[in-house]
């Protein structure tokens, strides 16, 4: 904390990084490159993977640089970060799997035709 200039420098570096990532996201979101939009990986389009990974990079920099998580005690950091990361990964997996199942029920494959009638 004694080196004021290096702190401010890092803040501005993170700001420009977040800005550049956002601009790239918006740009890709508008033009939707055919390669990213047409291919998918583990049930998710590449373009969505692209957005999600960039979002996680942004989240990392906000938490670690802006919220000074990198300067906290490592056990405290793990307490916060691991809790949310593992729990949210779990709940997203469960909810999205269930949502996909509900979709199958909803449009009704032959097997579940009687169920889809109930919606």
């Amino acid at each position: 904390m004694s080196q004021n200039s290096s702190h401010t420098k890092r803040i501005w570096f993170v700001f420009f990084l977040l800005l550049v990532i956002t601009v790239i996201e918006v740009f890709v979101g508008i033009i939707k490159p055919a390669f990213l939009a047409d291919h998918s990986f583990i049930g998710l389009k590449l373009i969505n993977w692209f957005f999600i990974i960039l979002t996680l990079v942004k989240a990392y920099y906000i938490v670690y640089a802006f919220m000074h998580m990198e300067n906290e005690n490592s056990f405290f950091r793990r307490l916060m970060v691991y809790s949310i990361v593992f729990y949210v990964s779990y709940i997203m997996f469960i909810f999205l799997t269930e949502g996909g199942y509900m979709h199958d029920m909803f449009i009704g494959s032959d097997k579940f035709y009687h169920i889809s009638k109930d919606f």
């Binding site: 904390m1 004021n4 702190h7 401010t8 803040i11 501005w12 993170v14 700001f15 977040l18 800005l19 956002t22 601009v23 996201e25 918006v26 979101g29 508008i30 939707k32 939009a37 969505n48 957005f51 999600i52 979002t55 942004k58 989240a59 906000i62 938490v63 640089a65 802006f66 919220m67 000074h68 906290e72 005690n73 056990f75 405290f76 307490l79 916060m80 809790s83 949310i84 729990y87 949210v88 709940i91 997203m92 909810f95 999205l96 269930e98 949502g99 996909g100 509900m102 979709h103 909803f106 449009i107």
Partner: protein, 322 residues
């Protein structure tokens, strides 16, 4: 600051030591942020659940939020990108205020906190404008018996306002209590045109097409031919203008529900963040923290403010981009 233990009493049980080396206030703020993050995760997970259920008919956000103030041509994503920029920038001024606080530079803290508050106000104002535009709607649509939305486009695929081709006006007036109809009061504004008016106008205008909610393999919404549209329009039972909790001219009402709920809850967080920022701002101006010897309160409110920014990063991705 003066509670630093001397080497003789460097025991964890002697008092004055802090778990994880984090001050009480900051730790509690982190705990609050963790629980709040779980709340927002729950919202976004619920959104994902419903979106996956209706994956083949969900509204495409870029076609919904295309409005930019003072312009008329549709500009997907630009306005939201501007809002994101404002929030990120106010996050930077907040962290600069925290940094200035570490160096006990009161005037710099005041300046940066003021900039943060202004950024927050611009963001909340932008969000209010976006809500207003969304509630008001842009082109109007028909709703079928089963709740599907039929939008109208010309042969180039550009959206057409139903008022521009409808023939005649609806004679229906709103049911209200003073007309003796208390059991079927209209809770929302009654459209000025009816399904019959729109249908008549559609038949007279062979260039028009119907855009359904179905998403094709290429990621675009299905556009029917004029002939197919003519048979589809027979299923329409109502005119929808704008969006509310029950009807939504852009597609699934659930989309509007999630939009109001998630961005509303986030907007409420920004609003309360501004209020807390203003309180801390005046404390800084009055010199409260200068007397106290440290600016930890600025740090704590900064944590909250960054969290609000963090949530927006996820809302931006999962509501507007993906």
């Amino acid at each position: 600051m003066s509670t630093v233990a001397t080497t003789a009493s460097k025991s964890d049980w002697g008092g004055g030591s802090r778990p994880f080396n984090v001050s009480y206030g900051k730790m509690m703020m982190w705990f609050f942020i963790l629980s709040d993050a779980l709340t927002f995760s729950g919202f976004l997970a619920a959104y994902g659940l419903m979106r996956f259920k209706f994956i083949a008919t969900w509204p495409i956000a870029e076609e919904v939020f295309t409005h930019v103030p003072f312009t008329h041509s549709p500009q997907p994503l630009l306005y939201v990108a501007f809002m994101t920029f404002i929030l990120i920038f106010s996050s930077v001024t907040m962290v600069l205020a925290v940094d200035a606080g570490h160096h006990m530079k009161k005037n710099k803290v005041i300046l940066y906190m003021l900039l943060t508050i202004i950024g927050g106000l611009i963001f909340v104002g932008s969000q209010a404008w976006e809500w207003k535009t969304f509630i008001k709607g842009s082109h109007g649509a028909l709703e079928t018996r089963s709740g599907n939305i039929l939008q109208f486009v010309d042969e180039t695929g550009k959206h057409v306002n139903i008022h521009s081709f409808a023939i005649g006006n609806s004679e229906r007036i709103a049911d209200t209590r003073d007309k003796g109809i208390w059991f079927s009061e209209d809770s929302h504004a009654v459209p000025t045109i009816s399904v019959a008016n729109v249908t008549a106008g559609f038949k007279a205008n062979p260039k028009l097409r119907i855009k359904t909610e179905n998403i094709l393999a290429n990621g675009h919404k299905e556009i029917l031919s004029h002939e197919a549209s003519l048979s589809k329009i027979k299923q329409a039972v109502g005119v929808v203008e704008g969006a509310n909790m029950i009807h939504n001219e852009y597609g699934k009402p659930l989309f509007a529900n999630f939009f109001f709920f998630i961005t509303g809850f986030h907007g409420f967080h920004v609003f309360s963040g501004i209020v807390i920022n203003v309180i801390i701002f005046f404390n800084v101006v009055l010199g409260t923290y200068e007397k106290r010897g440290h600016y930890e309160m600025v740090e704590k409110v900064g944590l909250y403010w960054h969290f609000v920014d963090l949530v927006w990063v996820f809302v931006f991705t999962f509501f507007y981009l993906v």
